[in-house]
Symmetry: C2
Subunit: 260 residues, 2 copies
Amino acid sequence: MTDRPRTRLFVDAPLSDGAAVPLEGGRAHYLRSVLRMQPGERVLAFNGRDGEWLAEVAQLGKSGGALTALRREREQTGEEGPWLLFAPLKGGRSDSVAEKATELGAAVLHPVFTRRTDVGRVNLERLAANAVEAAEQCERLSVPEVREACPLFKALEGWDPARVLFVAAESGRAAPAVSAVTAHRGRPAAWLLGPEGGFDRAELDGLMHLPFVVPVGLGPRVLRADTAAFAVLAVWQALAGDWTSQGGADSRPPFRDDRG
Amino acid sequence: MTDRPRTRLFVDAPLSDGAAVPLEGGRAHYLRSVLRMQPGERVLAFNGRDGEWLAEVAQLGKSGGALTALRREREQTGEEGPWLLFAPLKGGRSDSVAEKATELGAAVLHPVFTRRTDVGRVNLERLAANAVEAAEQCERLSVPEVREACPLFKALEGWDPARVLFVAAESGRAAPAVSAVTAHRGRPAAWLLGPEGGFDRAELDGLMHLPFVVPVGLGPRVLRADTAAFAVLAVWQALAGDWTSQGGADSRPPFRDDRG
């Protein structure tokens, strides 16, 4: 174990040798008042483009602060994670989907309204905040893109047919997850997860007529929508994603540290 | 879709033709005051031994009630799900592990204390209640056994070496999940998930010397302990468990109904 700083921050600004990286007020406050950091202490910073940088706290004030980028620690790598289209859920479950989908490497989080979705509004800022926090803690070099919520079929307009859309479906024709994922390994992928009540029959028929849709079965038990989201992303990563090699995992613990 | 009753109840009593099935006060209250059920209405009942029965509400009073078992709807099947040994987590995350591990088919939930576990007490009743509720909603025919919390190595005393214990491990020797699970397919299985801070070095060394332990890597991102639990159970079910066939899923929606 090296003395790698424990604090990782997602920032907007470019990262390069000696670059000054502004921190907005909330971030500066968190470092100063919660983590009790002082100028000169070190953190890791990433912006989704320039890799991960060792950086030094330059200044922390009431209205903001700044880091100085010191040295690149990891190169940016292509993280071709799957997209997640999901019907928004009640009671904090959407937040938990954002958190865990980030850890499980989703590249895009897209809330979509289906006919039986009984959640009318999605707090995108909160989804994004959950995704940022999870990305900081799980060692990702990027944060998933959070897309504006929209009706399901609008989200599918202009869909690139090269990208397979796996749909967790009640249809008897659905293939077991392992066969479906294996058959489409190497293709860019997205998963669509319906609401707790499932898809409407007409909606499901509409989906099944789309050439890029592959229905997937998730076994004999009825999964909650959030459970299904975690499950499909894990299965995809294990079979077709970046869990297939152990690259880079050696120097890091499997579980994040205990800011629980 | 048949007119299968939407309410499923886990009961203690034996289920057979015409059997009277007592309901304790809390259960009777829930049916009467929350679901507004009346005598004569139908529910499904299961006890983990006798399959799933169509039953009729016989009586609902203040101090309890009773069902009458009418007809067996599904035979009891062997549900050889994996065991889950997990370090208890903070902030409701253990409850969520109980819920989702049940949906993902775990046969045993066993909280174990590791050196870095910073949760001193586990509310087993609450874990069990979460498991029962999830089993009722996910169409399982059984409820996972919730074992008394104990220190990790005590839980491993007298371990049947035929049962593989997959350990989500930081070791560089860990095989990717798909290889590890595939190599041990067909064996009874258990998963061990450490606390947020990971296993202690000596603890991990101790584990790695056990002949039934197989270290498993979960990719390049650092997963929270609860995310890791959901992920490994899903991957195991997809590759070695009951997701490998679609048996029984045809007549049921993939997501439970919306008591969210």
